[in-house]
């Protein structure tokens, strides 16, 4: 079943069109990779799906489980199961990570009409997940992402993903700034979340990440459009030949 349907999406930022009619369908259980050169609009797409202000959708639509995503507030989208792991997670001084995680999780559960987690259940869950991601407990006492290394910030995003159990995970350049060990830990965390009911969109500039998170479908994005889609071999092909051919095609 189609989880995410992006249809002929046109998006402007400050009067300039960035996405020029982008179409993408992601089914439950699938892992899609979106590859493309810098500036092709990958982050723009992820931001529009998550509901970041400042983007004007001039045409097209985004359906999530058949519902119009563009009509929803970012927090409603999150509660419905959309999760974006940011390319650049922000630092929030003064908001303890643990408090943030609990507040966010319970806000999502409340929006879905579910009971809030009890404190022991919540702590148990956080402890389990953070252990598997090699996140020390004292990191959770600090302000959200404050003083975290690049790798720690990315692991904190994966931690949230594991806690919130979204049905659509969009990972924007999860590999940027990570050394190979950090990348492996984060990728293992992501792979552990692969499930038949959940889809992932892995945005990356490099093929490297796809050695660890193996996609079912690969899309090539260039200049605000998907210009080619194929199987996982397409990523290897790109690695060998580069993006230049598609820049012409676009």
């Amino acid at each position: 079943m189609a989880l995410l349907e992006v249809k002929d999406l046109k998006v402007r930022v400050e009067e300039r069109e960035i996405l020029h009619g982008l179409t993408l369908t992601v089914n439950e259980g699938e892992v899609h990779a979106i590859m493309g050169p810098n500036g092709s609009g990958k982050s723009t797409l992820s931001h529009v799906i998550a509901g970041k202000p400042g983007y004007e959708v001039t045409d097209g639509q985004i359906l999530f489980k058949g519902e119009d995503l563009l009509e929803m507030e970012p927090n409603e989208r999150a509660a419905k199961g959309v999760f974006l792991a940011f390319q650049y997670p922000v630092e929030i001084p003064g908001v303890a990570t643990m408090n943030f995680l609990r507040t966010a999780l319970n806000a999502q559960r409340k929006a879905r009409g579910e009971d809030e987690y009890s404190t022991p259940d919540f702590l148990k869950k956080v402890r389990e997940v953070s252990k598997s991601l090699n996140i020390p407990q004292d990191m959770l006492k600090r302000g959200v992402n404050v003083g975290f290394s690049g790798g720690e910030k990315k692991r904190n995003e994966v931690l949230q993903m594991a806690l919130f159990e979204p049905s659509l995970c969009i990972l924007d350049e999860m590999d940027s700034g990570l050394d190979i060990d950090a990348l492996r830990i984060a990728a293992d965390g992501v792979n552990a979340l692969r499930s038949p009911g959940r889809a992932m969109v892995v945005i990356t500039h490099y093929q490297r990440l796809l050695n660890y998170i193996v996609p079912d479908v690969v899309h090539v994005m260039s200049k605000g459009r998907v210009v080619k889609s194929g199987g996982k071999d397409l990523a290897l092909e790109l690695e060998a030949s580069g993006y230049a051919q598609f820049e012409d095609a676009a």
């Binding site: 970041k52 997670p89 003064g94 507040t103 966010a104 999502q108």
Partner: protein
């Protein structure tokens, strides 16, 4: 109208504010003479206005206009309402001293438990002997008015070396509308003593009342004091409070003020570091909404060498609120090795919110380290979006960021249960936001 408006300059107002109240104001003939003189000072000066430098952002003539008549002594019904309010606002385990409409309410207070650890009298009792309670080092119109009109208050003395086992909470409760309460308290803390004093201002169903409070604190050498003031008066009330604090040597004095109530308020603190080696931490939070005007003015006077003062002030201003922070640090010629810093930050939640910040350093010594910094701005959209993308509705995302913002000042309160009490009041303010 039977309320006289004080006039300045050519206007020679015979005010029945004082004459109608005089019979009810406690004190010996000597005290009465002091009161008369103070009232004449008030009449001569009139309410402070914007052409008086210290009051330029808080023009009481424009904001308040007139001083309301003295509140009547609370009757049984008023005391019943006050008792209910005490239940809501009392800090667990604290020794309560309750003033209702400016009058000490013994039945609502924990005098018995308190006197086991500290000396206590009401102002009314203490004034029989000591007219000096009405005198202060600096005097402006509101302080003079307080001296003239003060009906009651608490006079506390904590013995040398005493370590109080529980906080003392002075609770001011207003039960009557359209009247004024004038209170004055004195707190004397002995050498090497340890004490936590909390002052709470709240209403019990009262509207549009005025509070004029003065607190005289003197702290002996080597004492360790936490002094917390929580002003959560009714949204249409006025609260003008003056603190006079004199600090001895090697003292730790940790002051925190939070403004969450009143249409118009000012806390003016005059703090003198009079003994070497002391550390003053003076912090504050103003949380303002609607058209509230909240002024925190602190004058820190380093009169001797080798003291440290730190001021952290945060204002969160919504709607058409107006926050004022005036921080003056004076370093006297002898006060070498003074280390004095203040940092002010304002968070503006609406386009019409206003923050005025006036830092002043008056430094007459050459070997000192003093500084101030200030910022003002809105909530960071990127942080808001991050929180919303994680499922927090707008208001809740804002609340979390606001709490983090004021947290930097609140975390200066060392005692955890007290900090939680303060955070609880801030959270209720957040819930009141429309």
């Amino acid at each position: 109208m039977n309320v006289a408006v004080a006039k300045t300059g050519k206007g020679r107002a015979v005010s029945d504010l004082f004459t109608s109240a005089e019979g009810r104001l406690p004190g010996s003939p000597a005290v009465t003479a002091v009161r008369r003189e103070a009232f004449e000072t008030y009449e001569r000066l009139g309410l402070p206005h914007r052409r008086i430098e210290e009051w330029k952002y808080t023009d009481l003539r424009a904001l308040v206009g007139e001083v309301l008549p003295l509140a009547a002594s609370p009757d049984a019904a008023a005391l019943k309402r006050a008792a209910d309010a005490v239940k809501v606002h009392a800090i667990d385990g604290a020794r309560k001293l309750v003033l209702v409409d400016g009058v000490f309410a013994a039945d609502l207070s924990d005098v018995k438990a308190l006197v086991a650890e500290a000396g206590f009298k009401t102002l009314r009792e203490a004034l029989d002997k000591d007219a000096g309670l009405l005198q202060t080092a600096s005097l402006d119109a509101v302080i003079a008015l307080n001296a003239a009109m003060a009906t009651d208050g608490v006079v506390l003395s904590i013995a040398d070396g005493a370590k109080l086992s529980a906080p003392i909470q002075i609770i001011h409760i207003a039960t009557a509308g359209s009247v004024s309460a004038f209170t004055r308290s004195q707190i004397v803390i002995g050498k090497g003593a340890r004490a936590t004093i909390v002052e709470t201002f709240v209403a019990a169903d009262a509207k549009a009342y005025q509070v004029n409070d003065a607190v005289l604190v003197s702290v002996g050498d080597d004492a360790d004091v936490a002094h917390i003031r929580l002003m959560d008066d009714a949204p249409d009330a006025v609260n003008i409070t003056s603190h006079f604090v004199t600090i001895g040597a090697n003292v730790k004095y940790n002051f925190f003020n939070m403004t969450t109530g009143a249409a118009v308020s000012r806390l003016q603190g005059f703090i003198t570091l009079a003994g070497e080696g002391s550390e003053l931490s003076a912090n504050g939070v103003n949380l303002l909404q609607k058209t509230e005007h909240g002024d925190t003015t602190l004058v820190v006077d380093h009169a001797v060498p080798n003291c440290v003062s730190r001021e952290i002030f945060r204002a969160v201003i919504d709607d058409r609120g107006h926050s004022v922070f005036q921080g003056r640090i004076i370093v006297r010629p002898d006060a070498q090795k003074t280390d004095g810093k203040m940092m002010t930050r304002a968070l503006l939640l609406s386009d019409e919110a206003e923050a005025d910040n006036k830092p002043e350093l008056e430094i007459f010594a050459d070997d000192v380290s003093c500084g101030h910094g200030a910022t003002a701005g809105a909530l960071d959209d990127n942080l808001l979006f991050y929180l919303k993308a994680r499922g927090l509705p707008e208001k809740q995302a804002q609340a979390l960021l606001i709490q983090a913002f004021v947290g930097e000042a609140i975390e200066q309160i060392a005692d955890e249960p007290l900090r939680e009490h303060v955070i609880g009041i801030a959270e209720r303010w957040l819930e009141r936001r429309s």
